[in-house]
């Protein structure tokens, strides 16, 4: 079943490039993938450690390289996110003026690459699948983007290429830091090696730093974030939804999948650095977000800012914090996709996203206003949305971690400042809502039509997922937490 979920979008992309009707094929493929993922989600046995539904195919015995895919709680949640957002993004894409086939093929390639990376149990394919999205992103922004698309496309592509090659160096070093006899690209084999202490402390520090910088560039960790707002502002809405919602989570997923279990010593060594950088994300980028004058730039910066919370969860190195990080990744992916989708629709109708030109849209586009409001509330982290569950777990986890190390620790400071981040995000989100949807009707905003019925469906899908898992976060925690129990035995499960 899992190989089907991975290859369905990729094969659909190839078919579309070969000339099959683009929109229909893309919709069928993405919905089929979503249904299969939901099926996998119900069949998944929560509470169990280790990987389920494993498919393995030996590619080179000498190098210990296999094509291996499997599911644990963490990857399942990420794949669920990817498939929901893909279905919504494809639905939102609608009719494309030029090169329609290429557009849908690029979207599906990004989606397939992300799903493949989340499902891979092998370092090599983990890396390679993610790279599958690089060139489609370049083309999506370059061909169909708006605004300063050329500069944005170059910036994101070169940044991400550099980040992924730094990551590649880190992964090779990780592979080589295991004694020759047990060298393997298989993540399970590496975990076994790490459990018996075969990865030396010195090597862990080097590898962790490389992974932190490599993944950090991919996730827009402060100060490697400058590509993100510009790229998301210029990208067509479906591309921004997929990239900000799903693909960017690859870096965080990578840290949870590799750095947390394999390099505990490295993580401990670089905690101080990571905490400082993530505060840069939360506080500095948060303030920058408030200063934005355009809706798309504001959303781009807000997505950078929220990465800080997830990094805090990863840095807290206990079950509570890391599970919270996984849940917030899911939640943030849905909410930012929703916000970008609505922003894209507003841009289609008014041709501008400057706050000064907009206003009063709530009167003419009530459904869009409602959807944007719900997305904004979710992004702030109001109770009832799954974002809240994630943020609460992260803050408790981080505070607990600091408390256990010593009574007054940098983590306590970080948690306190992070809580102020919630206030910051409330400021910019509500301000944006007021400027776009409240007040007097802007000059360009007459005669606008609301989202038509067909577009309300993907919006409902995203909102329903946010609320459903927000009311029942336990259904997530139950399957995510066991993924981390192996590595943090000293903590009680939440």
């Amino acid at each position: 079943m899992l190989p089907f979920i991975i290859f369905c979008p990729i094969i659909a992309a190839i078919l579309i490039m070969a000339g099959v009707p683009a929109r229909k094929t893309a919709l069928v493929a993405s919905i089929l993938t979503l249904v299969m993922t939901l099926l996998a989600f119900t069949l998944f046995e929560g509470g169990q450690r280790g990987f389920q539904d494993v498919t393995s195919l030996t590619i080179s015995a000498d190098w210990g390289l296999n094509f291996a895919v499997g599911l644990d709680g963490l990857s399942l949640v990420m794949i669920l996110l990817a498939t929901i957002v893909t279905a919504a993004a494809v639905w939102f894409a609608g009719k494309i003026d030029k090169y329609e086939n290429a557009f849908y093929a690029c979207l599906l390639l990004i989606s397939g690459g992300a799903i493949g990376a989340f499902a891979s149990l092998d370092l090599f394919f983990f890396y390679a699948f993610h790279e599958l999205a690089l060139i489609p992103t370049f083309l999506l922004i370059g061909i169909w983007g708006s605004g300063n698309r050329s500069a944005a496309a170059w910036k994101i592509t070169i940044y991400l290429a550099l980040g992924s090659f730094i990551l590649l160096i880190g992964l090779i070093l990780l592979y080589q830091s295991v004694p020759v006899a047990s060298r393997s690209f298989d993540i399970r084999a590496l975990q076994a090696a790490a459990a018996t202490g075969q990865i030396g402390a010195e090597a862990q520090r080097h590898v962790y730093l490389l992974l932190l910088i490599g993944f950090g560039i991919l996730v827009s960790l402060f100060p490697f974030h400058t590509w993100a707002p510009e790229a998301y502002a210029s990208a067509p809405a479906p591309a921004a939804m997929l990239h900000a919602g799903v693909l960017k989570k690859f870096g965080l997923y990578g840290l949870l999948r590799l750095a947390v279990p394999l390099l505990p010593e490295g993580a401990r060594y670089w905690t101080g650095l990571l905490v400082v950088l993530l505060l840069g994300n939360i506080i500095y980028i948060g303030l920058v977000t408030i200063a934005q004058k355009r809706l798309d730039w504001m959303l781009g910066y807000s997505s950078v800012m929220h990465m800080g919370y997830i990094f805090l969860g990863i840095a807290s190195a206990n079950i509570l914090g890391t599970s919270g990080a996984a849940i917030l990744m899911f939640a943030h992916g849905l909410s930012i996709a929703l916000l970008f989708a609505i922003a894209g629709e507003v841009r289609k109708r008014t041709d501008t996203l400057l706050f000064d030109d907009l206003g009063g849209l709530g009167k003419v586009m009530p459904f869009a206003g409602l959807a944007f409001g719900l997305g904004a509330f979710a992004a702030i982290g109001l109770p009832g949305f799954v974002n809240f569950a994630g943020e609460v777990m992260i803050f408790f986890g981080a505070f607990q971690n600091g408390w256990e190390i010593e009574r007054f620790h940098i983590f306590q400071v970080a948690t306190g400042l992070g809580l102020w981040g919630v206030v910051i995000s409330a400021v910019y989100m509500l301000r944006a809502y007021r400027k776009v949807f409240m007040g007097t009707l802007g000059a360009r905003c007459n005669n606008l039509v609301d989202l038509d019925r067909s577009l309300r469906l993907p919006v409902t899908l995203l909102v329903a997922a946010l609320l459903w898992f927000g009311f029942f976060p336990q259904s997530f925690v139950r399957i995510v937490a066991p993924a981390f129990q192996t590595y943090f035995s000293d903590n009680r499960p939440p």
Binding site: A102, E131, L134, F138, A161, I166, I172, L173, Q176
Partner: protein, 473 residues
């Protein structure tokens, strides 16, 4: 079972036959000769799988002390044959340009144009088997002299003429360095055979300084062939001026042969720490220069010239880290993607031009050519699921295993540069608006060749192990 040496003899005989037909049979379309040559070379290529093994290096006497048929050489004989076949296909595409060049009659010179690559091919096949300095020198000369003619083939074009003269003068100079280096090594060790030079080094009374000096001079000579900094000055002008199929041949065949010789010649000297440091330095300069100089280029042929310098840099990283199989794999990947990009360039340039801006909107005009170029560029940049990625992967793997931090850092930074200038071509093809809507025709043979190269590039990007296995045996 065929003795290995018969392969080269067959290729040489083929070349002479093509020349004889060219001279005495007048009423044929000269392109028939190229088709016949492609068929015959394919037969020789198949023959390489039915070779009888040569004697081991240690016990070799007579002819076999000059010539080896070890797995490395067999592998690169196939490589040379394959390159020549693809280059001949490109030359058929290029024939109209040759005919239309000023002062030419319809068929003049076409036969020689197809015959010379065959002699070059024989030279390349001798080079990769050569284990004696005398043999190395003679076979390098065979290759270089046929290139002198090929590079300046459209001699009425001033840029081609400039390219020809530059190549002639600098190549002669580098040959002089090579010979001088060989005499120094011979003077110190009393041997020209690489195997016996290695044994001679075991003698403690030997004067290593002299041998090292000789090795450095040899490195200068070979550095010219592989386009390593600081011996790269000729590359951009010659690549831009030469007929495009010849440029492709120069950048793949000549470079691969240079690297095989380099790996063989350096083997006895690599235990000297000075030699390793020198190689690291040259590799570092070459990757940085090649990539930085490629950034502002607007002419695609010139861009590919600088990219070929950059790739020589990555290959030198592999040489400096003693990663023979990584270098070999990289060369194979380089062969596929470079020939693919030149094949597209030849077809497109005849309709529009060689500037990158001449590729504007190619995706609209000819989706197949644009896709082929996309795969070539993406592979040259090193994106996963293409052969180019595995090439870089193995090189970086070796460099990290040797803890060559400086080389790794330079490699990563320059790879990011590479993304910029290769994607510039992609941008032109897909983003820009075409200047005309006219379709660009591709003949069936070229289309088949390009498709085969695309499939091979992607196949090796997913499953590279057959190449590594072929080397092991």
């Amino acid at each position: 079972m065929i003795p290995a040496r018969n392969l080269e003899i067959a290729v040489l005989v083929l070349g002479m036959l093509v020349l004889l037909f060219e001279a005495f049979v007048e009423r044929i379309d000269k392109r028939t000769l190229a088709f016949a040559a492609i068929g015959a070379l394919t037969a020789v290529l198949i023959g390489t799988w039915f070779l009888e093994p040569g004697p081991a290096l240690e016990s070799a006497t007579g002819f076999w002390s000059f010539y080896t048929a070890d797995p490395l050489s067999i592998f690169f004989k196939r490589f040379a044959l394959l390159t020549t076949i693809v280059v001949l296909v490109m030359m058929i595409d290029y024939a109209p340009v040759l005919r239309s060049s000023a002062g030419a009659t319809t068929q003049s010179g076409l036969g020689e144009f197809f015959a010379l690559p065959i002699f070059t091919c024989a030279g390349l096949m001798y080079i990769v088997s050569a284990i004696d300095f005398v043999m190395i020198f003679v076979s390098i000369e065979l290759v270089t002299i046929s290139f002198y003619v090929l590079v300046s083939f459209t001699r009425r074009n001033p840029t081609t003429l400039e390219a020809g003269v530059k190549y002639l003068v600098l190549s002669a100079l580098s040959t002089a360095f090579l010979v001088y280096g060989i005499t120094w090594i011979f003077g110190v060790t009393g041997e020209t055979n690489l195997q016996r030079i290695t044994t001679a080094f075991a003698n403690p009374e030997i004067e290593l300084g002299g041998a090292l000096f000789g090795a450095v001079l040899v490195l200068v000579g070979l550095g010219f062939k592989i386009a390593a900094v600081p011996f790269q000055i000729w590359v951009p002008d010659v690549y831009q001026g030469a007929p495009t199929p010849v440029t492709a041949y120069l950048s793949v065949g000549s470079k691969a042969a240079g690297f095989v010789v380099l790996v063989r010649v350096l083997r006895p000297f690599m235990m000297l720490p000075q030699m390793e440091r020198l190689l690291v330095l040259i590799a570092l300069l070459t990757v940085i220069y090649g990539n930085l100089a490629a950034l502002p280029q607007s002419n695609l042929k010139r861009l590919l010239a600088y990219s070929s310098i950059a790739h020589a840099g990555y290959l030198l990283i592999g040489v400096a880290c003693l990663a023979g199989s990584a270098v070999t794999f990289y060369l194979v990947a380089y062969l596929l993607m470079t020939l693919l990009s030149f094949a597209v360039l030849i077809v497109v340039a005849q309709r529009t031009g060689e500037q990158i801006s001449d590729f504007d909107g190619l995706a609209k005009r000819s989706p197949f050519l644009a896709f082929a170029m996309l795969i070539a560029m993406v592979s040259l940049a090193g994106v996963p699921f293409t052969a180019g990625f595995f090439g870089k992967f193995f090189i970086f793997y070796a460099a990290i295993a040797q803890r060559q931090t400086v080389l790794v850092v330079a490699g990563v930074v320059t790879v990011a540069c590479g993304f910029y200038y290769y994607l510039k071509v992609v941008r032109a093809m897909y983003w820009q608006v075409p200047t005309s809507e006219e379709k660009i025709p591709v003949n069936a043979l070229s289309r088949a060749t390009m498709s085969a190269l695309i499939v091979a590039t992607i196949w090796l990007g997913i499953y590279p192990w057959p190449i590594l296995e072929a080397l092991k045996r």
